[in-house]
């Protein structure tokens, strides 16, 4: 079985930051592998180690700088990577779900995987919609918010657990080929070993333009536009205790004693 994993590089924000137009100013931003995709990569690599997956391929929509993050996924055990980017993406500050699904669809058609794993969401723009949208557009089955996957795929079926609200899990059987959006906690993502990191340097990382995947520039023109970004106004006025740790701890202790904590 061939497993395709979507891997996104997400922006991380420093504690203190400034907003510049509809973006956070670049000097306050870092980059990391999307937390949810880390679990998706791990699940795929475990399928490979169990001799169920023959090949694990990652796909990323992202600029060349994202390659350091893609190499992290390769270092954890993915076999090769595809990265799609194009000049047409420059200046697009919000790539909508349709555009992402369309680009991924083009890659799926070329790769023909049996199983696609995506993260439930990305940590920066948190659309939570790309995986299921992709499934519909490639006519795959799907399940969203999966926190357990049986590894035997009896009769071409993936037995999964979906994590609903309030500590309830749904047991579902999904026919393959399928897209599963992976929730954190499904496994314990590994750290890349030194050997893995060295090997990752030699693994294939193929950069493709929109043209290479058979799409034209128009795909990035969604009907969505980010028009403002601001820090949310604090809804409640928390009383902030200032001072040394001893002083603030003292204030909190006093509050707790008022509330009857005597221990």
């Amino acid at each position: 079985m061939k497993v395709l994993v979507t891997v996104a590089e997400v922006a991380t924000v420093d504690d203190e930051f400034e907003i510049d137009g509809t973006e956070i100013a670049g000097r306050y931003l870092g980059a990391d592998l999307n937390e949810w995709d880390d679990y998706a990569v791990e699940e795929a690599v475990q399928l490979q180690e169990a001799d169920i997956a023959d090949e694990v391929v990652t796909v990323t929509i992202g600029p060349e700088e994202a390659e350091q993050t893609i190499r992290q996924a390769l270092a954890k055990g993915a076999d090769r990577a595809i990265r799609v980017w194009d000049d047409a993406f420059e200046g697009v500050d919000l790539l909508d779900v349709r555009a992402k699904a369309e680009i991924l669809r083009a890659v799926v058609e070329a790769e023909d995987p049996d199983l696609i794993l995506t993260g439930v969401q990305t940590g920066d723009d948190s659309w939570m919609a790309t995986g299921v949208s992709l499934a519909e557009s490639i006519d795959f089955q799907w399940a969203a918010v999966v926190n357990h996957l049986e590894h035997d795929f009896d009769d071409g079926v993936a037995a999964v657990r979906r994590e609903l609200e309030g500590g309830v899990e749904e047991l579902t059987e999904v026919e393959l080929p399928a897209v599963l959006t992976i929730q954190t906690g499904i496994n314990e993502p590994r750290y890349a070993s030194l050997r893995g990191i060295r090997q990752a340097q030699r693994k294939e990382l193929e950069a493709k333009s929109l043209d290479d995947v058979g799409l034209d520039d128009g795909v990035v023109e969604g009907s969505l536009e980010l028009t403002a970004m601001y820090e949310p106004e604090a809804e409640s006025e928390a009383r902030v205790w200032e001072g040394s740790a001893e002083e603030t701890a003292g204030e909190l202790a006093e509050l707790l004693r008022e509330k009857g904590v005597t221990a």
Partner: protein
């Protein structure tokens, strides 16, 4: 093309609260477009549900009778057919786990743009203006959709629940479900997070998040819980890492807690966490980041390193 179609959420024979919030959000939107509010409920005891959904401000309740439980293939087919029949301008879906399991597919099938996890909505002519958060709640954004029609998933708890019986008409919608196109089957449900301690019963919770960094540092928090005679709970990453059992997780997918005092230590206050603890009487946040979203709901805050504050607090009680 001015109507709003909203889809109710239910589980285990009960409507979920967000269904009533959708009625409010739908009404507010329809007041701007000048259309009607259609609320649809699919699968389960739909006739009973319809009575509960005939709310003030809802023009029509559509019932789609099909099976007992949620199945996304049934939802996608039923909603697509409702859409073709009603031809609404906007479709509203809860940003719940099930909503996220069908809304993107409905949007893809109907070729509608989708905007998710919306906390506020407005309309300006043909433009839908959606407010949503980014970076785990650190910033808020406005996104404009210039498409005429769109699908939006709304965050639970952001609109007040509609109440009061309305004059809604009830329409049994005859969806044609193609069984051959159903590719997944729900085989059961399981409650997780049982066990020795019930954090939802506790009066004083000491709750820890990713700020703790390493498993061995948890001992410090255990010492604090001992010193205060408090119950220990946590945000999700601590449970994901296997450092605490699932019954200690506070939040949307964990437990809802209502203690007198909730001390959130090294927890950012992501919406899914806040969903579980916002009902606490008094919330105290200890966090190095003064802009962490938890500060918005905290009553008291310490903007400092937990590794300094927690030992000092333990000292106070020993």
């Amino acid at each position: 093309m001015t109507d709003v179609l909203a889809i109710a959420d239910h589980r285990d024979g009960e409507l979920r609260d967000v269904s009533f919030e959708l009625a409010t959000a739908g009404r507010a939107l329809a007041d701007e477009t000048g259309g009607d509010v259609h609320l649809a409920v699919i699968s389960g005891p739909v006739d009973d549900f319809a009575d509960g959904l005939a709310l003030d401000g809802v023009d029509v309740v559509h019932t789609v009778e099909y099976g007992d439980e949620f199945n996304h293939d049934v939802y996608v087919q039923a909603i697509s057919q409702l859409y073709e029949t009603i031809e609404p301008q906007y479709v509203l879906v809860p940003n719940s786990v099930n909503g996220l399991d069908y809304a993107p597919a409905v949007a893809a099938r109907l070729d509608l743009p989708i905007v998710t996890d919306v906390v506020d909505l407005d309309v300006d002519g043909e433009t839908l203006i959606a407010t949503r958060e980014m970076y785990g709640g650190k910033v808020e954004t406005t996104t404009e959709l210039d498409a005429g029609t769109a699908l939006a998933t709304i965050r639970e708890g952001e609109w007040p629940a509609a109440e009061g019986a309305g004059e809604s008409s009830i329409d049994a919608f005859d969806a044609e479900i193609d069984e051959a196109a159903i590719g997944s089957t729900v085989t059961g449900f399981e409650e997780v997070a049982g066990g020795d301690v019930d954090i939802s019963e506790a009066d004083l919770l000491v709750s820890i998040g990713r700020g703790i960094e390493e498993e061995e540092n948890l001992d410090l928090i255990r010492d604090l819980a001992d010193a205060l005679d408090a119950t220990l709970s946590s945000s999700r990453p601590i449970v994901d890492a296997g450092w605490l059992p699932a019954n200690r997780q506070v939040g949307q997918s964990g437990k809802v807690v209502t203690p007198e005092v909730y001390i959130a230590i090294g927890i950012s206050g992501a919406v899914q966490h806040v969903a579980g603890m916002k009902g606490a009487d008094t919330i105290v946040a200890i966090n190095t980041d003064p802009n962490a979203p938890i500060m918005d709901i905290a009553d008291y805050a310490i903007h400092d390193d937990l590794f300094d504050v927690v030992p000092a607090l333990i000292e106070q009680f020993s």
